[in-house]
C-alpha cells in the first residue's frame, strides 16, 4: 500500500518511513485503512492544515506516531493504560508514563483515533455509526467522543487495555459509556476519577479544601491502581515532573496564541489546534510536542516579519470556547469572513487561576488547578468572569460561543444565559453556534457559513463605528 506521500506531508523523512514500514503496515491493517482512505487523507490534510509550516507537520507526525504506538503497544511488550477524553487531569497519565516510560503506554484512544481517523482519513463517522447500533442510538444527543470510543471497541480498533482510568471530573457521559463498555464488551472495570460540580454560584473563586482533597484522593487512587499494573511506585516526584512537562507544553501552546495577538495574525488558529489536543492526549515524550510548538512559533515570528496576514489587518477579534479537532472548516470560514479567533476558554488563565495555590504538595496543587479552571469545572458564573477578564485583556470585539450539542457539560454551561450576560454586561456581540467537535455528519462549517459571515459583518460595522 502506498502511503509515502501521506507520511511525508506529515513530516516523516523517507528513511523513517522505510524503518517504520512494518509498524505502519500492521497498524493500517488493524484499522482497515486502505488506499481510498489514504487518497482521502492526501486531500483532507492540506484542506484542514497549513502543511507548508514545519511546526504543523511536526504535530501531525506526532499524531501518527502515537497512533502506531497505541495500536502496537501490547505487541511491543508494554502495559496499556487508558484515560478518557478530554483527559483531565492530563497529569495523571503523564505521571504514570514518567514513572515507567519503557514499561507502559498511556493514551486517550478515542481522542487519538478521532483526531487521526477523522481529521486525516475521514473514517470517524464509521465509528459513530457502529456505536449507534450498540448502545448509543441516534437522536439522543450522545457524546460523539463516547461514540468514537464505543465504535472503536466494537470494531476492535481499540486494543483492550490493562487498566482503564475514567476521568469524569466534569463529564457524566464518558463514565456512563465506560461503565457500559466494561460490562458489555469485556474491557476491564474502570477506576473512576470523580468530582462533584457543586460550587455555589458566587463561590467560584473560593475552592473549599474538601473539594481539592476529594479530587486529589481520587487521582491518588487511580495512580495506586496504575502502580499495581506497572509494578512501579508513582511518587510525588513523578507527579511533579508530569506537572512540569505539561506546564512546558502549555507554555509552548500559549506562545502560539501569543502570535495571534499580532495584527495581522500570521497563522490560523486551526494550525494550533493539533498542539492543543496533544496537550490533552498523552504522548510518548512531551519534548517533541514542545519542539513542534517552538518550530511553529519561529515560523510564525518569521511570517510576522514578512508581513504575512491570514486575515487582513484590523480584522475584528473574537474569543471562542472550543474548536473541533476534526474539522477546521469553521475556522477557515471565520477567517475568510474576516474574523480573528484569538483565545479559547480552557487555556488562558483568569486572575483567580493565577493566584498562588492555597495547598501544598503536587497532587493537591494539581487538583486545585483543575478546580479553578472555569471551563473544565463548568461553572456558569466562572465562565462569565473569564469572558469579562479575557475580553478586557484581548480587547475582544465579540465572542464566538461554539459549543458541542451532544456535550451535557457544554449545554449546562448554558450559552443562552451566557449570551444574555455578555450582551447585557459587556455589550459585546455573541454568536452561538451549535456543532459537533468530533463528527461532521450533522454539523459542519458550511452549514454555519451564513451566520458566521453575518456575525463578521456586524463586528466590522461596530468596529468602523467605534473608529469614527
Amino acid at each position: 500500500m502506498e502511503y509515502t506521500e501521506l507520511f511525508k506531508i506529515c513530516g516523516y523523512e523517507l528513511e523513517e518511513i522505510e524503518k517504520e514500514k512494518p509498524r505502519i503496515d500492521k497498524t493500517f491493517e488493524m484499522l482497515e485503512i486502505g488506499p481510498k482512505d489514504i487518497e482521502r487523507a492526501l486531500k483532507t490534510i492540506p484542506q484542514n492544515f497549513d502543511i507548508e509550516l514545519d511546526g504543523v507537520r511536526k504535530a501531525l507526525r506526532i499524531w501518527l506516531e502515537e497512533l502506531l504506538n497505541l495500536m502496537l503497544a501490547k505487541e511491543e511488550g508494554k502495559k496499556l493504560i487508558y484515560g478518557t477524553a478530554p483527559g483531565f487531569p492530563c497529569e495523571l497519565l503523564e505521571a504514570i508514563r514518567v514513572a515507567a516510560p519503557e514499561k507502559v503506554y498511556c493514551s486517550n484512544p478515542e481522542l487519538l483515533l478521532g483526531t487521526v481517523l477523522d481529521s486525516m482519513f475521514g473514517k470517524h463517522d464509521e465509528l459513530v455509526e457502529v456505536a449507534e447500533g450498540h448502545g448509543l442510538p441516534p437522536g439522543f444527543a450522545h457524546c460523539s467522543v463516547g461514540e468514537a470510543k464505543l465504535g472503536g471497541v466494537v470494531k476492535k480498533y481499540i486494543p483492550v487495555p490493562d487498566l482503564a482510568i475514567c476521568m469524569g471530573i466534569f463529564c457524566d457521559q464518558t463514565p456512563e459509556t465506560e461503565d457500559m463498555i466494561s460490562e458489555v464488551y469485556g474491557f476491564p472495570e474502570p477506576i473512576y476519577v470523580d468530582n462533584c460540580l457543586d460550587l455555589n454560584w458566587d463561590e467560584w473563586d473560593k475552592i473549599p479544601l474538601r473539594k481539592i482533597e476529594y479530587l486529589a484522593s481520587r487521582v491518588r487512587r487511580a495512580l495506586d491502581r496504575a502502580q499495581e499494573i506497572i509494578g512501579v511506585e508513582i511518587t510525588d516526584d513523578h507527579i511533579q515532573k508530569a506537572r512540569v512537562n505539561l506546564f512546558r507544553t502549555l507554555d509552548g501552546i500559549m506562545s502560539l496564541y501569543g502570535l495571534l495577538e499580532n495584527d495581522p495574525i500570521p497563522i490560523s488558529v486551526g494550525n494550533i489546534m493539533p498542539m492543543v489536543y496533544l496537550y490533552f492526549n498523552p504522548v510518548a515524550g512531551r519534548e517533541k510536542v514542545i519542539k513542534a510548538c517552538q518550530t511553529l512559533y519561529q515560523e510564525g515570528r518569521k511570517r510576522i516579519e514578512q508581513g504575512y496576514a491570514v486575515v487582513p489587518k484590523g480584522a475584528p477579534r473574537v474569543l471562542f470556547t472550543w474548536l473541533p479537532n476534526i474539522d477546521n472548516s469553521v475556522v477557515h470560514i471565520a477567517e475568510q469572513a474576516g474574523l480573528v479567533i484569538i483565545m479559547q476558554v480552557v487555556l488562558w488563565p483568569m486572575e483567580a487561576q493565577r493566584k498562588p495555590r492555597t495547598v501544598q504538595g503536587p497532587l493537591l496543587r494539581l487538583a486545585e488547578t483543575y478546580l479553578r479552571n472555569p471551563y473544565i469545572c463548568g461553572y456558569g458564573s466562572v465562565n462569565m468572569q473569564w469572558i469579562r477578564e479575557a475580553s478586557e485583556h484581548y480587547k475582544a470585539d465579540g465572542v464566538f460561543w461554539y459549543w458541542m450539542y451532544s456535550c451535557r457539560v457544554q449545554a449546562a454551561l448554558n450559552p443562552i444565559a451566557l449570551r444574555k450576560w455578555i450582551t447585557d454586561e459587556l455589550g459585546l456581540p455573541v454568536l452561538i453556534l451549535e456543532g459537533d467537535f468530533h463528527s461532521t455528519r450533522e454539523y459542519s462549517g458550511e452549514a454555519a457559513r451564513t451566520r458566521i459571515e453575518t456575525f463578521a459583518e456586524v463586528l466590522r460595522a461596530r468596529k468602523a463605528d467605534k473608529s469614527n
Binding site: A141, H142, D172, D179, L197, N200, Y214, R408, A411
Partner: protein, 382 residues
C-alpha cells in the same frame, strides 16, 4: 377509595395552607428530586420541604428554549419553564432551593434558578462512587446543608428534633413499602396511578395528614382479599416520573395492563430503606441517603440499579417492562440498552422503551399504538 378522596381534599387546600405557613414566618425549602436530600433536616429546623417535581406539560418545555439549550433532560429544562411561566404556585413559594448535584442535567436547574430568578440556591454534591471517599464527601455536604438550613431558618437542628423527623420519615417509607408490596401477587389492590399520586402528594402535603392517609390505606389494603390476577403485570421504570406526566399511565391502564411496581430515579419516593438511628444522626442520614440508596444511572459503576430493577421484576412476577425516559437523559438511555440485554438473558420478557419530550400532540398517538401493541404481545405470551 375514600382515602384518595381525603387526599385530594387535602391537596386542594394545601397551597393556601403553605401560603399561610409562610406568612407566619416559616421557610419553604424547595429541593431537586433524586432522593439525595434528607427532608428530615428541613423538618428538624422547622421549615417545610417541597420537592420540585412538576412536569408533563409542553409549554414549560417550549418556554425553556429561551433560557437553556435544548440538549438537556426534558424535566431539567422544564423547571426554569415552570418558574418563568409562574403557573406552578408551589414554585413561587420557595424561599431557598436546595440542589443536590447528581449530574450536569440537574446542575443546569440550579444554574438556571441562580441566573434567572431571585431565589437563593444552595448546592452540595452527590459523589458518583460509593466508597469511603464518596461517603465522607456526601456526609460533609449534608453537614454544610445542615449549617445552611440552620442559618437560613434561624433554628438550630437539635438531635431530638432530628430524631423525631427521622422516625416520621421512616414511618412514611415503611407505609409506602407496605402499600407497594400488596401488589406483589394477585390483582393489585391499588392502582399504579393512585400509588404514584400518593408519592407525588407526599412531596408537598402536610406530613401528619399524609401519614394518616397512608396508615388508613395500608390497613384497608391489608384487609382486602386477593383476587386472581387479570391483565398483564408491568414494571414501570425510567428516569423521571414528574407530577402531571400521566399520559403513559393513562394509556397503559386503559389498555388493560396493570402496573404492579414502579421504579424511577426521580419523581417517586425512595421507600426501600430506612434511616438506622444507632449513633451519630448525620452519619445515619448519609448512610441511608447515599450508601444504602440504590444508585442512579450517573453513578460509577451503576450496575446496582439495573440489578435492583431486575430483582423487582422477578419479585413482582412481571410479564413485561415499560421503560419510560425523558429526552437527552444520557445515563438513563445507556441504562436502557444495558438493561435490555440483561433482561433478555435473565428473564426473557418483553421490554418497551418510550422516550418523551412532553410533546403531548405528537406523542400520545404513537405511544398509544406502541403500548397497545406491547400489551397485546405480552397477552399472547401469557
Amino acid at each position: 377509595m375514600d382515602v384518595m378522596k381525603e387526599l385530594e381534599e387535602h391537596l386542594r387546600t394545601r397551597i393556601d395552607e403553605i401560603i399561610k405557613i409562610k406568612r407566619q414566618g416559616k421557610k419553604i425549602i424547595g429541593y431537586l428530586p433524586g432522593g439525595y436530600m434528607p427532608e428530615e433536616l428541613v423538618y428538624a429546623c422547622g421549615a417545610i420541604p417541597v420537592q420540585l417535581i412538576r412536569g408533563g406539560d409542553p409549554e414549560p418545555v417550549a418556554i425553556s428554549a429561551g433560557y437553556v439549550p435544548r440538549f438537556l433532560d426534558t424535566f431539567c429544562r422544564s423547571q426554569i419553564g415552570y418558574k418563568i411561566l409562574g403557573d406552578e404556585p408551589l414554585y413561587e413559594l420557595i424561599d431557598l432551593l436546595v440542589a443536590p448535584i447528581t449530574d450536569n442535567n440537574m446542575r443546569s436547574i440550579a444554574d438556571c434558578w441562580n441566573f434567572y430568578t431571585n431565589v437563593e440556591v444552595f448546592r452540595y454534591g452527590v459523589p458518583h462512587t460509593k466508597d469511603d471517599l464518596g461517603f465522607n464527601y456526601y456526609l460533609d455536604g449534608l453537614n454544610l446543608l445542615r449549617e445552611k438550613l440552620e442559618s437560613f431558618t434561624g433554628t438550630r437542628v437539635e438531635d431530638e428534633k432530628l430524631r423525631e423527623a427521622i422516625a416520621l420519615s421512616n414511618r412514611m417509607r415503611e407505609l409506602f413499602k407496605e402499600i407497594s408490596l400488596t401488589r406483589k401477587s394477585g390483582l393489585p389492590r391499588i392502582s399504579s396511578k393512585n400509588f404514584i399520586r400518593l408519592n407525588h402528594a407526599s412531596f408537598y402535603s402536610d406530613r401528619e395528614v399524609m401519614l394518616r392517609i397512608l396508615g388508613s390505606l395500608a390497613r384497608e389494603l391489608g384487609d382486602r382479599e386477593d383476587h386472581n390476577p387479570s391483565g398483564s403485570r408491568i414494571l414501570f421504570t425510567g428516569s423521571t416520573l414528574a407530577m402531571g406526566d400521566n399520559k403513559v399511565l393513562d394509556i397503559l391502564e386503559a389498555s388493560g395492563a396493570q402496573i404492579v411496581i414502579e421504579y424511577f430515579d426521580e419523581g417517586l419516593r425512595d421507600y426501600w430503606g430506612n434511616v438506622v438511628d444507632d449513633g451519630d444522626l448525620m452519619t445515619a442520614l448519609a448512610d441511608r441517603y447515599f450508601m444504602k440508596k440504590i444508585s442512579g444511572p450517573y453513578f460509577r459503576p451503576s450496575r446496582e440499579r439495573l440489578d435492583f430493577i431486575l430483582k423487582l421484576a422477578k419479585d413482582f412476577k412481571v410479564d413485561g417492562i415499560l421503560w419510560y425516559q425523558l429526552m437527552y437523559r444520557d445515563g438513563a438511555d445507556i441504562h436502557s440498552y444495558r438493561f435490555s440485554r440483561i433482561l433478555k438473558k435473565e428473564l426473557d420478557i418483553p421490554m418497551l422503551k418510550l422516550q418523551s419530550d412532553w410533546d403531548m400532540a405528537g406523542e400520545i398517538g404513537p405511544f398509544r399504538t406502541r403500548i397497545e401493541a406491547f400489551v397485546e404481545t405480552i397477552g399472547r405470551r401469557r
